[in-house]
């Protein structure tokens, strides 16, 4: 019945170069050998070059005393600390600006992206203007703008802008009061954790009840009230065991409190605003990718507008939004290395800049710096892929 010629199952074995499976194996082995040979040559070459030029190598320098100061450190650091510690200080500063940048860019990006689709002409034009201005100016120029243009407009330390005599803003940065916790304060984070656990339980219970009975509580509002209210309540009951250290003008600068340096503010603003303009476009395209029929169908089921967005449009839009969003997050983190242009002490500035120059061990330092960015990027990408798999449409 079949018109196909019958393939002989037995017969003389073809020579291995005619066997595609074996041929492919040989080519792959050759490729692996080639890559290995290339890497070995590079490593051998580097070692020979460095030895021939009498350049010190190895990672021993990480235990040497650094001897220079860093303006913003999230952990204890002094000029007597080691180069290894400068690495950690730089890394944390990079993570700080990267993490807060991702957060701000996401919030601003979603707001602007949704505003871009607003039926209100003014709002949608404003959002459009924002996107076109900020995504079309090179990031480095934006960083310089926020740093030099805005910085110069600020008053000097002696005539700072004061907000209620507790918050001060001047050319040296933003000075905030710092909470000093007294005994008994431990209950407040505890109350916070309890509130979060209770909220999660409430949400799950509410969902089950809704599926079973069709009734539901405004769980979101109740959770919010719990999370804000419970710690606040405990705070009042325990008699507010917090005092505030208010920054004070002493000598040249404000001392005490929390200082947010202008380098951080400029970099954070520039990174967030720049990346938000791309995220806004991604959000807009994601929402527009959902066919209007979906919205109409949901409305036909008489779902209120908020639920139409929350239950029908956004879950489907997220599938389109998340993959390009991941790229934007990675871009933002890598772009944070432009910090060195304005003197924000990030990894590139502190470690691949000063440490490299003081020790002269360019290869080790650059390799470590590249490895850090690679690791951060791979971790972010792994997380986003996991998140993407979670929100992907489950077909039933």
């Amino acid at each position: 019945m079949s018109a196909r010629p019958k393939v002989p199952t037995q017969g003389p074995k073809p020579p291995f170069w005619r066997d595609p499976a074996k041929r492919a194996l040989v080519f792959q082995l050759l490729l692996v050998a080639g890559v290995a040979a290339f890497l070995l040559t590079i490593i051998g070459n580097t070692q020979a070059n460095l030895a021939a030029r009498g350049i010190t190598t190895g990672f021993g320098f990480l235990n040497d005393t650094a001897g220079f100061g860093i303006v913003q450190t999230l952990i204890d650091y002094s000029s007597q600390s080691t180069y290894g510690r400068t690495f950690v200080v730089g890394l944390l500063n990079t993570l700080l600006v990267g993490g807060l940048g991702v957060l701000a860019a996401t919030i601003v990006g979603f707001i602007v992206g949704i505003a871009r689709l607003s039926p209100n002409w003014l709002i949608s034009r404003l959002a459009n203007g924002y996107i076109e201005i900020f995504r079309n100016i090179p990031l480095l120029l934006q960083i310089f703008f926020w740093y030099f243009a805005v910085l110069r407009a600020m008053p000097s330390a002696r005539d700072s802008m004061s907000f209620g005599e507790v918050i001060f803003l001047n050319v040296r940065g933003l000075y905030l009061p710092q909470p000093l916790f007294e005994s008994g304060f431990g209950l407040i984070p505890l109350a916070f954790v309890v509130a979060i656990v209770a909220s999660i339980a409430l949400t799950i219970w509410n969902k089950r009840r809704h599926e079973a009975t069709g009734k539901r509580l405004p769980a979101g509002w109740i959770s919010l009230a719990l999370i804000v209210g419970l710690p606040l309540g405990v705070l009042v009951v325990t008699g507010v065991p917090v005092t505030w250290e208010v920054p004070e003008l002493r000598g040249f600068n404000f001392r005490g409190g929390i200082t947010v340096i202008p380098e951080f503010l400029a970099l954070w603003l520039a990174l967030s605003i720049y990346t938000a303009s791309f995220i806004a476009e991604i959000v807009r395209s994601g929402i527009q990718a959902i066919s209007h029929g979906q919205t109409e169908a949901a409305q036909a089921l008489s779902l209120p507008q908020g639920l139409v967005l929350r239950l029908v449009v956004i879950p489907q839009a997220l599938r389109v939004i998340i993959p390009p969003l991941t790229s934007q997050y990675l871009n933002l983190i890598k772009n944070s290395s432009l910090a060195t242009a304005i003197g924000y002490p990030d990894l590139v500035s502190v470690f691949a800049g000063t440490t490299l120059n003081q020790t002269g061990q360019a290869i080790e330092v650059i390799a470590m710096t590249m490895a850090v960015y690679l690791t951060i990027s791979l971790l972010v990408s792994m997380f986003m892929n996991w998140f993407n798999a979670r929100v992907a449409l489950v077909e039933r």
């Binding site: 303006v71 030099f148 003197g343 800049g353 490299l356 360019a362």
Partner: protein, 342 residues
């Protein structure tokens, strides 16, 4: 020079160290330079008096004169130089990887740099020390009053280490604000980001005249460190090391012997045996370095003696107006001293 270009130089330099065939730039800098026809000279990215392009786009400054002297010794033509502007962070990698033949970029001679980077310092062009510049509005007259100040520093300099040492030793606090280039450092100081700008005193003089209002800034009297600045070459090529070293010594000896670019032709007939030896009239001292006998004559006639290059770039004939001070010759109260040509 844009910031991105700087990073590019850095990365290509590292790549050259990783990928470059070994032993190419070893021991043959003179031959390579001759083949290329120019001396590749690493200079700063713009420091008036030391190395900065003038309004014609020509590089000027005392560090630039050292490059020109080397070119005059090697080619008999002081203009046969290609200048490579480098910031403080990338300078050593650029030299190590062979991007430049000589680094003449107000670089302080220190133990670490001399012994662990595979580099050799060929001498001292300028004896300097670290100082502090403040705005007059600040009302301070001494470094001791700077407790708690924010200080603008250029990244990757010995300055960054000295200031940390000094403030720790005096039990004072400071906020280091570290910039990539001297231009950005001045920008930060002018914007009021920091109270103080610290650098070598000669650089402070140069940076001060770049300010929009130089009269409002003053340099504090204290000098907190020794900063001998000089040209640097790669280790392992003694011939090239000698050429750079003696190009500098030739200019110092010329000043000591009273030979200048104006009178060098008359001096060719001098009876003084020291003069005759330096100018190659007596015997050939260039031979040992692979140069012609008139190597020093070329340097002096085309570049000048040390006093000439000092005066026109940083001294009284220049906008910087820095006194000779310890940079006077040894027989004139200073410490500039060159071994004899003999």
């Amino acid at each position: 020079m844009s910031y991105k270009n700087n990073k590019l130089v850095m990365l290509t330099s590292v790549a050259a160290l990783v990928l470059g065939a070994s032993a190419t730039t070893q021991a043959a800098t003179l031959d390579d330079t001759r083949e290329r026809g120019v001396v590749q000279c690493g200079v700063s990215d713009g420091l008036p008096g030391f190395s900065a392009p003038d309004d014609q786009g020509e590089w000027q400054g005392i560090d630039v004169e050292v490059c020109r002297a080397v070119a005059a010794a090697v080619f008999g033509d002081a203009e046969a130089v290609r200048y490579v502007p480098l910031n403080a962070v990338e300078r050593f990698t650029a030299l190590q990887s062979g991007e430049v033949d000589v680094l003449s970029r107000n670089t302080t001679w220190t133990t670490t740099r001399d012994t662990t980077l595979g580099l050799n310092f060929a001498g001292v062009t300028f004896y300097d020390g670290q100082g502090f510049m403040v705005s007059k509005d600040l009302g301070v007259s001494s470094v001791e009053e700077l407790d708690g100040a924010a200080i603008c520093i250029q990244a990757g300099t010995t300055t960054e280490l000295n200031v940390a040492d000094y403030f720790r030793a005096h039990d004072m606090q400071f906020d280091p604000i570290v910039f990539d280039t001297s231009e950005q450092t001045v920008g930060g100081f002018e914007a009021g980001r920091c109270d103080v700008l610290t650098s070598d005193t000669s650089q402070l003089a140069a940076l001060r005249i770049q300010l929009s209002d130089p009269d409002n800034a003053m340099i504090l009297p204290e000098v907190i460190s020794k900063e001998p600045l000089g040209p640097v070459v790669r280790q392992g090529d003694d011939q090239w090391f000698n050429i750079v070293k003696w190009s500098l010594f030739a200019m110092l000896n010329a000043e000591e012997l009273g030979i200048s670019s104006d009178n060098v032709d008359e001096m060719l007939n001098s009876e003084n045996p020291n003069v005759a030896r330096l100018l190659g009239q007596d015997s050939n001292f260039g031979e040992g370095m692979g140069l012609s006998a008139d190597w020093a004559y070329n340097i002096i006639s085309q570049v000048g003696n040390y006093a000439e290059i000092y005066d026109r770039n940083v001294g009284m004939d220049s906008p910087l107006q820095i006194e000779r001070g310890i940079n006077e010759l040894w027989n004139n109260g200073g410490i500039q001293y060159a071994p004899p040509v003999r």
